[in-house]
């Protein structure tokens, strides 16, 4: 009886009104998943946050891997990240995951389509504001990320903006939007790190 009451109190306490940070979801998951992951037959949505997954300790791991601190009003420990696990029939074939990244004129939403090993299969800007946004949203720009993985992006330093290896050859299609280009690379690296700690690290 005591346990029942205790459970009831815990359930009621958790039902209080809270305003958490907002994550990054696909605008139309049914349509977007089919488009971004051709051949997929279904998906499952999970919400994960650094706060719930590992707290401050995990945040410092993520920041260390990123080579930069989480900063600003919105890049916080409690941001819920939406992970779309993609299925072909009953078989799990990959993931789609997006992050918000601060751009020069607005929020940039960078989505990556990843295979089961964590290699980028597709790249999608859901949102990007800027005079040269259309040049960065071309298929040719996105294709440069296909085949890369976290191992490649570990050679990118978001603070200095310097890269080595395969990331160094990614060409900015809008040289006048250098800030947004660098923000994109930071967003991609953050995305891959989060997927590593949330998903691949646990496999």
């Amino acid at each position: 009886m005591k346990q029942i009451f205790l459970s009831l109190i815990i359930i009621l306490a958790y039902n209080g009104t809270t305003f958490a940070a907002t994550g990054c979801d696909l605008n139309d998951p049914d349509r977007d998943v089919r488009r971004l992951f051709p051949g997929s037959t279904g998906y499952k949505t999970d919400y994960v946050s650094i706060d719930k997954k590992g707290g401050e300790k995990l945040l410092s791991v993520v920041e260390q891997k990123l080579g930069d601190r989480f900063s600003g009003l919105y890049e916080t420990i409690d941001v819920p990240y939406t992970i779309y696990t993609i299925f072909r029939g009953k078989q799990k074939v990959g993931y789609i995951h997006g992050v918000n990244q601060k751009g020069k004129y607005g929020g940039i939403q960078v989505f990556l389509v990843l295979n089961m090993k964590g290699t980028i299969m597709n790249f999608y800007y859901q949102k990007l504001t800027g005079r040269s946004a259309s040049r960065l949203r071309t298929a040719a720009f996105g294709k440069q990320f296909v085949g890369l993985s976290l191992a490649d992006f570990m050679q990118y330093d978001p603070v200095s903006g310097k890269a080595k290896g395969r990331v160094a050859v990614i060409r900015n299609h809008a040289p006048d939007a250098e800030n947004d280009f660098k923000a994109t690379l930071r967003g991609v690296k953050k995305n891959l790190i989060l997927m590593n700690v949330f998903v691949y690290g646990n496999n």
């Binding site: 039902n15 907002t22 004129y105 607005g106 929020g107």
Partner: protein
């Protein structure tokens, strides 16, 4: 052994039957609490949305007032434009405490989503609008410097989506115009959270709408005869007067009509569960015909038997009611999300409002129903004659 212990043992002895009955009652309690909670949540959210608009009257260009009000509430664009002169003409009226001209504009942003999206901007009067919306508090920064500043104040959700902080720039797609973010509002739980505010003169200049507005928000002085003032405003040419009190009342009347249907559903659910309870307990009485007879032959009075059966009913209803209400409370937010996705227009805030008061009320209702449902089976059991029961079993 006390009566309630016998009743408890009887129920525990028929686990499957008792569980199914409890599930039925729990579902009824869930439906009852959720429906009443929705009714209350919708009403209070709608009232708050309208009160939080900060003005009692909106003037728009001629058109359907409710459509216009809905568009305003939803943050959409106005139907037609009004000349700005309308606002300056009534600004000096003794009934008017303050007013804010408003101009909503939307642009297509091709770089939003797969095939583009709409970005909306709300032009407001920097001199009056902040004083009309005193509940808006800043997380960062403050309101605009002047009437023509190229500045923006963002509601919290808009700022979060755009990842903006004070000092950052926003770009109006297609116009190639930069604005400086000077303020980020705290969450208010209203439509303002998703709004980008810009001084009305600036919006007019950017969109080439000089001298035009989509609406005027009017805050009236205390003690003003609203009906008379509205009559006065109705005389303005090509102007639609939208009284927030009227809009609120009309929508609440519609909600009241819906409430009758909603409560009818709840009553049907309760009647079904009541019949289920009577059936279960009656079955139990018939099955225990002999047992009851023996109890009576051992000295149990009809009153004892009546209370024993009655208590069984009340135990079932109490447990079912408690479970149903707990489910309704725990799932109230999810229920709200589902209802919001179905409704064509839903106010901001919690759509399903279930508080301890409602839980106590619905729990007591279910217990009272238990008492009523138990009367007939208990009466039947109390009237069993020992001789007859033993003979019947033989």
């Amino acid at each position: 052994m006390k009566i309630y212990q016998i009743a408890y043992k009887n129920l525990f002895g028929k686990k499957v039957r008792s569980t199914l009955t409890i599930i039925g009652i729990a579902l009824s309690a869930w439906v009852l609490a959720s429906l009443i909670g929705f009714n209350r949540g919708y009403e209070s959210s709608l009232s708050r949305d309208i009160d939080n608009m900060g003005f009692q009257i909106i003037l728009t260009a001629k058109g359907c007032p409710y459509e216009a009000a809905t568009l305003m509430l939803k943050g959409g664009t106005g139907l037609k434009y009004l000349p700005e002169k309308v606002a300056s003409d009534i600004a000096s009226d003794k009934e008017v405490k303050r007013l804010s001209t408003m101009l909503m504009q939307a642009v297509f942003d091709p770089n939003k989503g797969e095939s583009g999206g709409i970005m909306a901007y709300q032009g407001v009067d920097p001199a009056n609008y902040p004083q009309m919306k005193t509940y808006l508090k800043f997380k960062q920064g403050k309101w605009f410097k002047n009437q023509t500043a190229y500045e923006a104040v963002l509601g919290y959700e808009a700022a979060e989506l755009e990842q903006r902080e004070v000092g950052d720039k926003i770009l109006i797609p297609g116009k190639n115009i930069e604005l400086t973010v000077v303020g980020i509002l705290q969450r208010s739980g209203t439509q303002d959270d998703g709004t980008i505010f810009i001084p009305v003169k600036t919006v007019q200049k950017i969109f080439g709408m000089e001298g035009k507005i989509t609406g005027v928000g009017i805050q009236v002085n205390q003690g003003v005869d609203m009906a008379k003032f509205e009559e006065k405003l109705y005389k303005l040419p090509d102007v639609q007067v939208v009284s927030m009190a009227q809009v609120k009342q009309t929508i609440l009347n519609l909600v009241s009509t819906a409430r009758v249907m909603v409560l009818s559903i709840a009553v049907i659910a309760i009647i079904i569960s009541m019949v289920g309870v009577i059936n279960t307990i009656l079955m139990s009485v018939y099955e225990r015909f002999r047992e009851i007879g023996i109890l009576k032959s051992m000295g149990a009075m009809p009153r004892d038997i009546f209370f024993m059966i009655w208590i069984e009913t009340v135990i079932l209803c109490s447990i079912g009611g408690l479970i149903g209400n707990t489910i309704a409370y725990v799932l109230s937010k999810i229920t709200g999300i589902i209802v919001r996705s179905i409704l064509p227009y839903a106010p901001t805030g919690d759509l399903v409002s279930i508080d301890p008061g409602l839980i106590i009320t619905t729990s007591l209702t279910i217990i009272v129903i238990g008492f009523l449902s138990g009367i007939y089976p208990a009466f039947k059991a109390a009237r069993i004659r020992p001789i007859e029961s033993i003979r019947k079993e033989d």
